[in-house]
Symmetry: D3
Subunit: 337 residues, 6 copies
């Protein structure tokens, strides 16, 4: 059986890592990480275009596409120190959300079942449902916490007559038991959605949501530290879901539902590094990069760097666990090894 490859455009892999074929587990049996594209924007409530997110994130880099990216900050090579494959895209017809999400769940579960960490490139945030479910089916329903960077809570109920869409996956995950409500850590929320009824439902689920005024008042580092403690309480793994709209639209314009007042790009990269270095991450998705609204590829570049930051931190965590010196952000670049 041949690789399906990408749904749109030429057959490329994330910065040139080797390809694998989802239907043939032998092709990724030794993987630490498998990248999966989810080129789906049928669940978008406003500006579409995230179907081109996987392709854009895979190639937004000015360096050779040679499957190697040594991190200056962490002094590891996330693409070389880990065994990383790119499975191409799952076929996801934007006009049929139910079938598409089911296909993606199958794919993500296959990766998790192979012992690898799936990194899913969205696509709109609808995909968090199959992403986290696919991982939780392997690690145990309710055994994986969810760290969620986003401007929006994504806990809506029915919208446009559908249970599925990019504003609803978190509710579906809690309802199904895939993720415990009190192990949901949401950081960066802001704006004017959802309303009181949904917020009450969230409070009942004992979710922990950090709105931006709290993040500003207390500092992001303190909020993260608090969240990390919750995340690892009675959970063996952490799923990291990064909606690029957590960053301010000024720095990440290429997205569908921009909400002013967000993180800087720097803050997001620092936060992703901390999650993946300090926590036992078992799955990641990076969503809502919408190339049609991007300028000079800056949002695609940011998505690409979020993936690399996660990979680098996972690699460094493993290196340190194997006996290396712990990472020290105060150490000068050229003193490090």
């Amino acid at each position: 059986m041949t690789r399906y490859g990408p749904m749109f455009g030429p057959d490329i892999t994330f910065l040139g890592v080797p390809p694998c074929t989802l239907e043939e587990p032998v092709t990724y049996a030794d993987a630490d990480v498998v990248i999966v594209g989810a080129p789906f924007d049928g669940g978008t409530s406003h500006r579409p275009g995230t179907r081109f997110g996987p392709s854009a994130i895979r190639q937004a880099c000015y360096l050779p596409h040679d499957g190697s990216r040594p991190s200056l900050a962490l002094r590891v090579d996330g693409l070389q120190d880990l065994t990383v494959y790119d499975a191409g895209d799952v076929e996801m017809f934007s006009g049929d959300i139910e079938r598409s999400l089911a296909s993606l769940e199958t794919a993500v579960h296959a990766v998790a079942a192979a012992g690898a960490i799936p990194i899913v490139l969205g696509g709109d945030h609808s995909i968090a449902l199959p992403d986290a479910t696919g991982v939780a089916r392997h690690h145990g329903l309710g055994r994986v916490s969810l760290v969620h960077f986003d401007a929006h809570a994504d806990t809506g109920d029915i919208e446009f007559g559908s249970l599925h869409g990019h504003g609803q996956p978190m509710r579906r995950l809690i309802e199904s038991g895939a993720v415990r409500g009190d192990r949901f850590l949401q950081i960066g929320l802001r704006g004017y959605w959802p309303g009181p009824e949904t917020l009450s439902w969230m409070a009942e689920q004992r979710m922990r949501s950090y709105e931006m005024t709290e993040v500003v008042a207390r500092g992001l580092d303190e909020c993260l530290a608090e969240a990390f403690e919750i995340a690892t309480d009675e959970c063996e793994g952490v799923f990291l879901s990064v909606d690029v709209d957590v960053v301010d639209p000024g720095m990440a314009p290429g997205t569908g539902t921009p909400e002013p007042g967000g993180f800087t790009s720097r803050q997001l990269l620092d936060a992703v590094r901390r999650v993946c270095y300090e926590l036992p991450v078992v799955g990641v998705d990076v969503v809502e990069v919408a190339p049609p609204y991007d300028h000079a590829d800056i949002t695609a570049y940011l998505g690409n760097r979020v993936v690399l930051e996660a990979l680098s931190a996972i690699a460094r965590r493993r290196r340190d666990a194997a006996g290396g010196d712990p990472w020290n952000p105060h150490q000068p670049l050229l003193d490090a090894r």
Copy 2:
């Protein structure tokens, strides 16, 4: 029951014509024309964004939104000489193509059943299936011919596992009997799709498709004249489907599947005028305007003017039928009335 209004953005109507409510036929009982928005891009095979087409087409004009547009060319006011309402948008969740198309068919049929001409603002070309079906259900299956300006034949069979999508509506229309294959007039085709198998199927249906090299070799006017004869043979009405990508991407960049080598904007407007002035048009759709890829609104302006050209020509046809002098394109502007 209140008007649903537009699916995206503020509640506006086409250039300020009065609103009506689809669920309340009394609100458009006296209509000559009802405009219906179909903000759907779930059937798009490549660049999405046509969900914003209805809103963009409705407002792309530098003149006051006062429900009046006197045509210089035809010396009628398509918005005043006809009774035109705007029903707002049909709710069409892009993630569920089957439900969405069914909702649209119901809406279009309601308009036709009220004795009015529906003008549907797309959205992607998937909507031609419910558009033409809704009209044909009223006028009689196989009794309405289809004049189709497009770069693409849109006669694909199954794509991405679905019977529906913006490359397939014409096949579905013929299969269902809504439109006779030999009353399909396609003008402007070009490029590298579909392949021989589909072309054979089309030939079997006795479709008449004018590829651009034929249009250039013979002249657009001659091709249209020939097509018009076929269109009115054993058909009482004509459905006009205008895919804006029939125009060259240089003049209509805001679209999803651009194919170089098309009409000029001028040619499209002239052709639409001829169709609506010379033929008994019973329905229209204008599709594939994708604002995210547009520049300075030029494609949205073109879509708006296609609608106005159709309305003006329909109004002039009625005026002439009521005893006026036939329209003469050679007549100087200031000699006309």
Copy 3:
């Protein structure tokens, strides 16, 4: 008499709040807030386009235009907890600044006289003169202080042979006595304008202007606290004037005279919230959003959120004044009500 509505484009209101008609005070007699559009860019010294600011600010939102926006940060609904109308635009011909400003002053005064807070959507900053004058005529000349977020002091004298323009309103306000010079609080100034002569004039008026190096050195919160004390000394009301160019051009490119080195969007939203929550605001304008230079609507979104942040904070201030718990930015989102 019918509503004039918007000067450009279709007749919409701010996020769907009910319309009112300026010439008919009964239509806004019960208003807490009346939104007024000032689509004028005739006073712009460089890049024009703010005439489209009111329309862009009114609709830059991905949520339904339903006249409701519950604030996550403040747990009030600024559009529902207050009675808010949108009066449409004042007719302001950009080619005649004197007539245009006079018309706007009449409109703003009418709103203030009705006991409501006018929120004026610019337009270029020329409009601050009629905005603050219209309010001061009702509350008393010299009885309203002015909190002014801007990269520029806007205290020029005669430019291009005119007393009016977007670099001069603050001087005119002081000269006329509408606002006391020593109750002018300017925050965010930077760059290379005005020169020493104008700065001397400003110092003579005892204005208090926080240049960005002072803001960085002392911290924005400390500067605001100091400014707030001055603002309420012998003044019963505060007019808030927000020039979107106080934000860094990287985050707010859609403006006419961009000056690098400004606030982040987050800082502006936090500052606007503090002004409207801590001070007795009697009028607001949001100016210099220039859509032709915007990208992906990010500056328009920011303008929209500045308005919502102001409305939410005004609503929360009233709720707290009526006996509610004071707002606490450290409180977790889901603990709040």
Copy 4:
């Protein structure tokens, strides 16, 4: 007295021709042509930005700015074979249309009075009033006909409460007697403005307006030939007014009131060449280039080439009048001299 220079941006001249100073006639006493910038968009009814037109038109070229441009088509150098100066911009504050137009009329008249042809770079079309008036004051009121390429008739009466604006100059010119109504030749009109009342007024003035359907039906060359005969009947000179929106928005997107269905760029260049080669042109303006809406400078390039085409044809006309062989478009490039 020093040269005022450009109103916006650095002090440049049209492709590097020598500067002159309007207030000092000696600086252009020997001029064949004087270029004057009119950076004014206060009369624009919709999208502004033409204030940057003069600067954009002056520099939109990939060749060295060396004051030389040998025309391949006409084998003359319009910048060298004629004596051409650039007077910089007239100060025109967009917020004061009456004062601005008066200043421009003074400038244009000064150029005409010096025996030179003024070429005015707009700016919006409001400036046609002072442009043609300034020329007619020198050559005689009613003695100069007007050849006018435009999508719009620009014969409105009062708009936004003003007698002046970019939709009204042609009416004012006829009312004042500067130009005879029956010596107005308008070519390229289309769309939905003005309405019947204004058209009746135009017919009464015996204007000759070629709407695009007539241009298509009869051919542009035939229409031009007919118009040229009228233009030189009882008139010694011709003023050429080129509104870049006569070209299709697809090829000239950088403009304020785009109307689909226009000329190709090629058609405009060919038509301008014919006017300036076949007729006794005494003044030119090129208006409505709005850089904020342009892409990759294509509309600015077109404006620049319209100016060069006019200059080249004027030079060639003079060369032929001095005894050269008449220009022959059928002659191969390398056979010509």
Copy 5:
């Protein structure tokens, strides 16, 4: 030895055709056509960016990248009926034009020597020198004529102190004897370059250059017919060089030296088809597609379609030579096979 692949971005081939390795002739021994990327813009005199041309042209298509493109117009599949490989890019450092052009010449010659037609994707027009030289070295110096669609003659001598650059290749080709001056057919020239001295040199070489006024006056078809006769006189092969700026900037904005008044996209495609169907083409280049200045990929799409049009016509020419019916542009699409 491994394939060098593309110089920028991921390793893709033209619409998915199989790759080959230039250094290993066995990998393309059976080729009819080999595509070679020339990602070089160091010779550009104005707007750079053509280094991204090869990548953009390779992938600008909305259809699957499956190595198949059945032409509607010609009823052949240029990618399947011919054996086509993509050799990736030649390494061409833009900072070193001499070394880069030499490397490309070696590559092109290798393809020609293998009996295949090289289709070179530029890159700026500097590459025409090595492209045509590489082909001529195989087929015989002076034995290959050159059909050259361009706005510019590209016959400059020394510019910026260099013999090489995108305005000079045609002079170098004639000087070296690679191509006879009197077998140079240039079509589409216009504008203001070069000056008389260079034109005299061209005339001395007996080049045949069709300026746009001649093309308009005589008609493109007649000019082509005349040129084709010259091209095949005493020459066994034809090299086709397509500079995308021959098309009007309105339809092909993504280029470095735009010259208004060019071909429509349709005209270029029709002309390319005629060249490749009627003449014995032995090499092709498509140059000056500059993605940074493109909008919505329309110029890249055009470049892609020029390549496909050439391939399709070459395939059809071979099919007809093998006994098929000659192509008839008047034949209806569905009558053809």
Copy 6:
């Protein structure tokens, strides 16, 4: 001998300062500062366009181009209190990097030899080699330290077969002895380049490179203070090299190799001010502004303000050295003089 002027576009100077001619030292004998344009992008490894950087940086300002810019922050006029000339551009053919860099070195050395500070406007970062070398040749090899704001270390060895390019100048400077390795202060590095081998080489040279995680962990002010101590140890002068990509791509999109996670614009301006106020700066370059990828000129504006910030701080340093009060960032704007 006449001034060469700018290589692209009209002859302008930085914000209207007087011109000088590099070949005629008398024209800048009294200069404090000479601005030199280096319009070269032949060394760019990815997105080109910096050849237009000098022109864009010179004119990106909304104020009159009058050769005066009084700084609000520093209360000096960098263009008036210093004697500043603009020498125009050095002719640098992007296709010949070796010759181009040599020409630039000659020009920079000429400025330094005249006792002035050269401020070089890039251009890609290749130019740092001739810039710093030209200065060091005058002040003494190894006697000038280098403060380098950049996302990239630019210490690559051979790339694309060349010793020169925008990723390599810092290695060449150290190898030649122009700058001591242990007097290289790099601030803002991040991302995934260079790899371990190059980092080892850098460590061997005893460079001091502040990666962004160190900058965030320790604070930029502390890092700068530490770096400043090193910079002035055994060095009489400091060369400041500002690569605009040190700023986050969200705030500076117009650049060739964007790396997310950088400075804010505010941070860069504050840092440049500190360098030029606290250190004995003898040369400056501002590089990598690439207008084709910019939006609304925001990156060009930033480049312009970096130059002005440097000039203002140099002027203030001299004023204070002459006995003025030291600058105090806590002082209110209107208390300062």
